[in-house]
Structure formats: C-alpha cells, structure tokens
Subunit: 475 residues, 2 copies
C-alpha cells in the first residue's frame, strides 16, 4: 500500500503507478509496448466503446470490419500517407514455412485496406454518403517510450471512414463528427479543445485535420482524437468515383474520425487523484461497491443486509459488486478507491438498524442510500457525483491555460499557452522553437472560456490576421 507519487509534480510517475495499482493493465507481457487488458481494464474499455458505438450509430454510421493485413502494393498508393507510416509499420513476410510473394503490413490505420473496396461499393450518387466505422486493433512500430494506453504498439482503435458527394457534404460530416465527439466527451466528463492543426502537422494525406487536445500534468497536452477532411486526396489514387444524378463521373470527398484507448488514459489522467483512479459512472466497471461491516459480536445482520442490497441493485441493472471477502473494511475501502469506483455503500450494525446504507462517493461526499429505495437513491447519488466530477474537471481545465505575450515567456509557465499568431508557418515554427513544443493550432469552434482579443503576433508583431492559437508540449 505504498503512497502514489505526487500527481502535480511527478505526473508521469503518478500515471504509470496508478494504472497498475488500479489493475487496469498488466505490463509484464513479453513484447515491448504491448500490454495485457486485465478484466477490470477490459470492462472499462468496453463501457468506453459502448458510448462511442451509441453516439456514432446515432449519426447513421454503420459498423464494418476490414482485415488486419494489407498488401504492400495497396499500402503504397497514396504518397504522403505512406511517407507518414513507412517507418512505423510491422511487416508480415512469412506464412508457415515459406516467404510470402507479396509482403503484408499489419494495419497502422485502415485507409489503404478500405479504399480499394470503397471504389467497388460506391457507384452512384445513391450510394452516398457512405459512413462506416470499425473498432479494431491497429499496430505501430513505435520507437518512442511506450506507456499504457497513451503510446503502445498494439492500439485499440475507433476509425470512421466516409465518402461524400462533394466538399460541402464532407465539411458537414466533419461538423457532425465534432458534435458526436462532444457528446462522447460529456459522457467521459472530459473537457477538451478542438484545434485545427497547422498545415505542417496534419495527418499524412489529409487536406486538414482537427484534433482534440486536453491539458495534462501541467504544461503538457495530450491528443485524444481527431477528425480529418481528405478532400479527394485518397479518392483519386484509389479511384473512388460515382455517377452524379445527371450522369457525370466524380471523385468522392472523404473524411475520417479516429479515437483510441488513449481516451482511457485521458480519463485516468484528468480525473485521478492522490488516492488513485476516479471513474465517471458511464465508464466505471462497477458503479458501486457494497462493503459489509461485520459486527464484533459476529452476528449475520450486516452481511445479510448487504447481500439483500446487492440483489436489489443487481436486479435493477446497476453494475454493483458485493465485497464480502475476509479483509478488513479499511483495506476494502482502499482497494476500491484506487480502482476508482464512484460509490461505496457501507452496511454495518447502525445501517441495518436504520435501513439506510452509508454512501461515500469517490470525491468523499457522504450521504445515505435507503434499502427500500436503493435503485433510485443510487441513481441520484451517481448523478450528483457525475455533476461534481464534471465541475471539478471543468475548473481544472480552465486553470490549465495562460496567455503568453512574448516568446521569452513561453518556456516559463507551467500552463498550456494561448498565443497570438499571424497564421504564417515561419512564425509558427518560431513559437515551437521557443517553447520546445508544438503549435497545436487554432480553435475550430471557438474557445470554451473567456479571453480578450488577440494582440500582435507573438513572433513577428504583425497585428493583421492575428488569431488565438494554442501551444504546448505534447506528452
């Protein structure tokens, strides 16, 4: 039961210890950068995926699954894309005891798997839009330091790929994706910024990229997802054409939307504290844990009442765990706090007498849950907990940004920087050099907090075209 490192001053150490202490992953697998999804981590991931599936299917996207292996010749068709991924793919070169005629790539993302087939699926304007998604694992031969959920070599991945009749329709799909992500992030209680990446930092092959960033560990940022507008950059090499209503052949415009297991890392990073993980109810493997407190006289009262409470909540469809093990109550409290269970229900002699469990939520708020109205009481306790968690995350989010007014100031603050920028690449690179970080881009849909108007460009002093941009050091 060693204490965790301090989250504020030693964020990464804290993170690495907490994901293991909370039993979300096991890093002792024999291949670098590939970890094991333990039962507890797997169920958190399953809950997280459920939100993604619900929100994306509500926008009319349909699930598919394409093969994990891509023939080398298809992989190489779009030049920028292959340049971006060439150095970080795993190659399958042997099948059984013999060399393969055509080497295969383990997908790092699925454009090159899907688009030759999209060229067969899309024939007429009646086939559009084509909005499909898959949730699969992708593989990247990562050479940087790997970290559970944040940077791994086998990545649990959501990817939507769409074909649209024209550029406006594709732009509209980007908007729709931004809206869907806003609803997902609300379920995860994750405030974020949607930033249009500067041209030199967009996805390989994209026309433009909007990324979702959150501040973590002080001055660092974490990209937790992205939406891309491809225009016809891929439809041209892959020949994805359709016949318009008036008989012309046109190339489709395409978009993609990507999320990954990093979202789980982000939930740990944003909500976790000195006691461990804190799960929003939507994601928590168990929404509540029941701890019976045995009577010193050895009576069965609390245990029997705890069991009855468990049955009632379980039947009502709540994800609840009855911890009737032999450890002492204090050890159980600690066990489930580290694991981030939103609500603990204690049942001792006093609770049996009053027919009300003592409820303590993961932020320390105490209340009571009546045995006779347990499902409703638990629902309202979880809703109150979720509101408090959302508010705490929003406050920390607002406090994580600061305006920087000169290049000298950039490296000094422990916050993510708002800078005035004229929009020129040269000035962007000067910001990056001064910070030893990245110009993350401009807010795609405004800033979610109040700030004055931008001043002159932090690099060249030009006031014309000045706009706010974010600068930070990606984790």
């Amino acid at each position: 039961m060693a204490e965790l490192p301090d989250k504020t001053t030693a964020f990464i150490d804290w993170y690495l210890e907490v994901v293991e202490a909370a039993d979300l992953t096991d890093k002792r697998y024999g291949v670098k950068g590939m970890n094991i999804w333990t039962p507890y981590g797997f169920v958190a991931r399953r809950n997280l995926d459920r939100v993604i599936v619900q929100e994306i299917e509500a926008t009319g996207s349909k699930p598919v699954e394409f093969p994990a292996l891509i023939a080398a010749n298809e992989f190489a068709k779009e030049k920028e894309h292959i340049k971006g991924f060439d150095a970080e793919v795993f190659w399958v070169t042997k099948g059984g005891l013999s060399e393969l005629d055509v080497p295969l790539v383990l997908r790092p993302t699925s454009e090159t798997a899907m688009y030759p087939v999209f060229a067969l699926w899309v024939r007429s304007h009646r086939d559009l839009p084509l909005n499909v998604y898959q949730i699969v694992n992708v593989f990247r031969y990562e050479t940087k330091t790997t970290r559970p959920f944040l940077r791994v070599r086998e990545i649990h991945f959501f990817e939507e790929h769409t074909c649209q009749a024209g550029e406006p329709e594709a732009t509209e799909r980007v908007r729709s994706n931004l809206g869907a992500f806003a609803r997902m992030a609300a379920a995860y209680a994750l405030p974020y910024l949607a930033l249009r990446r500067p041209d030199w930092d967009k996805f390989p092959g994209a026309h433009y990229s909007v990324a979702f960033d959150i501040p973590v560990g002080g001055a660092r940022t974490l990209q937790i997802g992205s939406v891309h507008h491809y225009r016809q950059n891929f439809s041209e090499p892959y020949g994805i054409r359709y016949e318009t209503a008036d008989g012309r052949q046109e190339l489709v415009h395409q978009t993609t939307f990507g999320l990954s297991e990093r979202l789980l890392g982000a939930i740990v990073a944003v909500h976790g504290d000195s006691k461990g993980v804190v799960f929003p109810p939507s994601i928590a493997p168990y929404e509540a844990v029941i701890v019976p407190i045995p009577e010193s006289g050895g009576g069965e009262g609390p245990l029997a009442a705890a069991r009855a409470l468990y049955e009632r909540l379980h039947e009502a469809g709540r994800r609840v765990f009855l911890d009737d093990g032999e450890e002492r109550p204090g050890a159980k409290y600690y066990h489930w706090e580290v694991r981030g269970v939103p609500l603990r229900l204690e049942v001792g002699r006093r609770e049996v007498a009053s027919r009300r469990a003592t409820a303590v939520d993961r932020l320390g708020q105490k209340s009571a849950v009546a045995f006779d109205s347990a499902p409703q009481d638990v629902t309202s306790r979880l809703e109150a907990f979720d509101r408090a968690l959302q508010e705490r995350a929003r406050e920390a989010f607002r406090a994580a940004f600061a305006v920087a007014r000169s290049l000298d100031e950039l490296p000094k603050s422990s916050k993510v920087r708002l800078v005035s920028w004229c929009g020129r690449e040269e000035c962007g690179h000067r910001v990056e050099a001064a910070l030893d970080g990245s110009l993350l881009g401009e807010p795609e849909e405004g800033l979610p907090f109040e700030v004055e108007s931008p001043g002159p460009c932090i690099a060249c002093g030009e006031t014309r075209d000045a706009r706010w941009a974010l600068a930070g050091r990606p984790l």
Copy 2:
C-alpha cells in the same frame, strides 16, 4: 435475381452464393482468405457474440485481451502445440525499416501468449480457479481452399482459458463449458453432437478434446467449437504453479473452450433454404422489416401507418427496419428474404383499414400484427417462428444420421454414419480409410436421438467394449 443453386445437391455452391447474396460478407479484398465484414454481416456477428458473452460470463468467466503478437521463443515452449501450428502461422519479421531481433507470430490461438502471464497471476490456491476469455481475431496461414466463415485466414475467435486446482476441477470446468455451449446453441437453434475426439485427432497439446459437430450438406460434418482438457501439459512447460492450503507447490490443470465465426456459417448452412438465409431471431440484424404498400391512388395512408408502426416497435426496443425505398413491394420481399429477416410486416390499404399489419414469417407462416399491440404481437410471432425453426432444425438433424453396419456400406450413404467401434486406434483408421473421412469420436453426453445398442466393431467384429462412434467427412 438469379436463382440459388440447389442446397441439397450442390451444398457448397449454394453456401458460397447465399453468403454473398445475403450481404453477409464481401470477398473482394486483396488478400487471399481474408474477407470483409459488411454492416449486415457485422451486426449478425455482434448479436452472435452477445449470446456468447452473456452465457460465458454467467459461469463466472471474465473478459481479458492479450496482445496479437507472440515472441517466437514463447511460442515454441510446448512441443506438441508448436508441431501442430508451426506450418500455419504468419510471421512478423520486420518493424519499420529494420529486422526484428526476435521474430513475432500472429497468434493462431493464445495459449502461448497467456500462459507465461498466468504463471505470474496464479500464486496461491486463493487465485484459483482462474477463468478468463477473450474474443479476438486469430490468424492461420490456411493452405486449403478458403470459404467465408468456414475456413479463413483471419478468424473471429472466442477462446476461454482456465486454470484449476486439480484434475477433477478441470473436468468440472469442461462440464460447465458443455452446458454453456448447450445454452448458446439453443439461442442459435443449432442441434449438434458433442464428441470426444479420438486420441489421434485431439487438439495439439491437449489431454483430450470434445468437439461440437453438426451435419451439413448431406454426408459432410462441420466442427463448430471445442472444449479441451489440458491436464498439466501446458502448466509444466510454462511453470503455472500454486501454493496449496497446506503449503505445497502444485502445477495447475487447465482447460480451454473455443468458438469462432464458423458458428455464423453454421447458422447459414443449417437454417438457409432455396430463398436464402434464415436467421433465428436472436441473431437477426433486423428481427422484422416493415414494407408499406403504396396505394394506387397515391394516398399517404400506408406509408404513414408503416412509419407509426416502425416508431412503436423501435421505441419498444425491437430491431426493426422500415423499407420505404422506391422499389416495388415484391422486390423488397425478395431482398429481405435472401437476408433472412424473421418477420415481414406488410402495410397496405386493407391493413390501414383493419389496423392490423399482415405478418409473414421467413418460413412462410402468415398472421396479423395489430397496430395497437404491435410490440407484444411481434414478440409472440417471433417466439412462434423461433419454435418452428428449432423444430425444423431438429427434424433435419435427426434425419442426417444413419447406422452403417459394414465398412463397405460407409461410402455409399449420404448421411453421417454411426458405427460400432471397439475403441482401438487401428480399427478407427480402418473406418477412416473406408470412408475417406474421419472417425469423429464418441458422444460425450449420450446421443440426442434413439438408437439400438451397438453391435460388433465394424472393423474387427469384436463385441467387447463396442460403443457408438460417429464417422463423417469434415467439410
């Protein structure tokens, strides 16, 4: 709208056409033996997996996910196992632009991925039983002819792996798995035989294997799953030991339980007919489709009523599709029959007048669904359809077997053979040679139909130890 090949006389041709006509798969992917899960096929698979997850978790098994890549040295630890898989794995030899120090195998199954870690997870008798499962894709460099769902190179796969304190506990886990599979198969309306494979045909590394077989296409059989007792065959090389209550170190006994996308192929093969696929309601992507029949006068009545019916069923949680496209009703009937939708609801002028949709189930049974009690009426129609489908499948199953009384008779019948067998390997091989097929093994839990007592061994004539065994030609 070409007619399908005859299922009885040209089973494989029928199967290959029907899986594509029903839009369950797209075979036009650029890598041999790897197909695309289309939206319709994917949702059928998702429904199928839901049954598996529900039944296996009800037995206390927990979900995990281990990496897809296995280091060559771990893969080679159990001698029989590696011999069984050596010639059919894909090898990853390059990462980025350089050769890997240790080549990696794309998992063909996960014993060798999991068991080094089980050795870390299992320490004490308190850690037992360890019952975990995963649903992942596995990869086999299949050299035989590939066929959608039945034999592919990337396989959607369920695998449970367990560690038990002793042999009796492992045997009990095998029993529990057989029970869980019985419940899954009931949801799929699939009658099957559980057969203990002869020793020469067990899973590489197993102590014994019980396989689930179904008759398909006359004299052929299809293995749709298996449960294995490993004893200590893997725990010894991987060092999976625990401390007993009295302080001794013991190797665990292990079991596994495997299922795959073949189940979807089996559902197609067993229930399909001359019109296409027939889905049991549990698996059907849509349980019902609503077809409005426009009035010749051009009135909106049927369409509006169909929409209201859709809303009512959708809100009640039914998986329902409103086909309000421009094709003629007959074309729509054909479209959804091929795809196996259990129930069609027709809404024309007469139906609007009577406030009752005409219901036609996929076996041709006609009835009515009242607008005002549509959710309940649809539920009862689906239940009746499921019962009829179960009964039809059971009858076909019973009719698929015939006793063979001499080796000469074996190749002649178009049924799966029941043979009297003395249990000796030599006689088993004589049966296999005569049939040009396999001795599938002995019923693990009795035969599900009436049959006389076994006579003398079909090969040697010995009556001592004679028992029924099944012989067939696996597809």
